[in-house]
């Protein structure tokens, strides 16, 4: 709600967005898109959506951009200057975009003004979350409490989306015809062979990695009290491994997290999440009703049980997200072969 900054950043974002589309170089477009996402992150913080900003910074700006680089690395930077027969597409695109713009603009006339504290969105359901988060769940970060508890079911599927994406990438890029007992064991063996050795980057990365990992774990653990949580922490954790694989070699990471480990971790993560939910079911409450866990967690009330279950859930999320981020990156950057990376 710092409207001056809001206006400026939005303008910057529009410029960035426009240029991303116009630029005739895919790597360039990816870079600008990265800048775009970083600006987005700034926008969210400015509007007070710190958790969104955190997620955008890690997921949107960080990982997506790296994924774009990986894809461009595996394909081409080249963009055809004058494609043939696109007039139709352009017309449709313009018409659709224009039409949609008009309709949406028409709708805005009825909207409550921006940041109005009396808008329906601020007065109908959300007050319950704001006032209820401490008495209901003892978690100060209401985004976390809504995410992992009030609407924990959404989040479970959200994690499943990530896992789905991982499986999808695997099944799309994975090589067929492999008859080994695992779909997995196509990890090239042997020493790191990549040619170019950049001492500086390697050294700095090496030094930084443990701290970044600890930071990621900190983010996961402190999701209740400050922005962050399973998603952000998981992504950052994954990003540290991506950093390793970028500055060293893909095998540096695949030696630790081969495809199978990744799959196991990701699925275990989701099993933790849904298992906690199912545990509630077994304990006689509704699915994901963490208060039932007070029966088996020592020293908890129904309220703190929620808080602790949320932590467990976040850990599951983090595990899954980390593994999948690594998985997707590895597959994209090596075109599914795991031979060499960026």
């Amino acid at each position: 709600m710092i409207w001056q900054i809001d206006l400026l950043i939005l303008t910057l974002i529009v410029i960035c967005g426009f240029c991303t589309i116009v630029v005739k170089d895919l790597l360039g477009a990816a870079v600008i898109f990265g800048a775009y996402s970083f600006l987005m992150c700034l926008l969210w913080t400015e509007m007070g959506a710190v958790d969104v900003a955190f997620t955008e910074a890690s997921v949107g700006a960080g990982v997506s951009t790296v994924l774009f680089f990986a894809a461009v690395h595996r394909t081409t930077r080249h963009v055809k200057m004058k494609p043939s027969g696109r007039l139709m597409g352009k017309t449709i695109g313009l018409a659709a975009a224009g039409l949609m713009g008009c309709v949406l603009l028409y709708a805005t006339t009825d909207f409550p003004s921006w940041a109005d504290p009396n808008s329906p969105a601020s007065t109908h359901v959300s007050p319950r979350y704001i006032t209820g988060t401490i008495p209901d769940t003892s978690v100060p970060n209401m985004v976390t409490s809504v995410l992992a508890d009030y609407r924990g079911f959404d989040t479970m599927f959200e994690t499943a989306v990530i896992l789905t994406a991982g499986l999808a990438v695997l099944i799309i890029l994975g090589q067929t015809g492999n008859r080994s007992p695992l779909p997995i064991s196509r990890l090239p063996q042997g020493p790191i062979t990549q040619g170019y050795d950049d001492t500086i980057i390697r050294f700095i990365t090496r030094i930084m990695t443990p701290f970044l990992q600890l930071f990621a774990l900190y983010v996961i653990a402190h999701g209740h009290h400050s922005p962050g949580g399973g998603f952000q922490g998981g992504v950052i954790l994954g990003a540290t491994f991506i950093l390793m694989s970028i500055s060293y070699d893909l095998r540096m990471v695949t030696n630790r997290f081969n495809e199978r480990t990744n799959l196991l971790l990701a699925n275990t993560g989701l099993l933790i999440y849904s298992g906690i939910g199912a545990l509630c079911l077994i304990l006689g409450a509704n699915f994901l009703d963490y208060s039932a866990l007070a029966k088996i967690l020592p020293g908890t009330t129904t309220i703190t049980a929620r808080s602790e279950a949320m932590l467990g859930v976040e850990i599951g999320v983090a595990l899954a997200v980390m593994a999948i981020v690594i998985l997707i990156y590895n597959n994209l950057v090596s075109n599914g072969t795991y031979e060499n990376g960026l």
Partner: protein, 104 residues
């Protein structure tokens, strides 16, 4: 003091706009990466400033830290691209329609 920080932020935004020029116009991809990196650095500062304006800076430093780190990763990733694809600047936009083309 809050106003001061707000204006600080606005000026930073304007500076980002200038840096954005480099990112958008190029002319080489390296310039873009650099521009993005510069914007990223400014953003870290801006994040802390916004945190200060909200009066909850302890909530924002984590984001800023994560941000700085991911910016670093992105930059490294972008630049590592060139260890695999050498001499491909011709593919880029800025140099394409220049009559002579760049010298190696």
């Amino acid at each position: 003091m809050s106003d001061y920080f707000t204006w600080l932020g606005v000026v930073l935004c304007l500076l980002m706009l200038m840096a954005l020029y480099r990112t958008v116009i190029g002319p080489t991809i390296i310039d873009r990466i650099m521009g993005a990196n510069v914007i990223g650095t400014k953003t870290v500062v801006l994040l802390i400033i916004i945190g200060t304006i909200f009066g909850r800076v302890e909530m924002f430093v984590d984001i800023a830290l994560a941000y700085a780190m991911l910016n670093f990763i992105v930059t490294i990733a972008a630049s590592r691209y060139f260890t695999h694809h050498k001499n491909i600047l011709q593919e880029g936009y800025g140099l394409r329609h220049r009559p002579g083309g760049p010298k190696d």
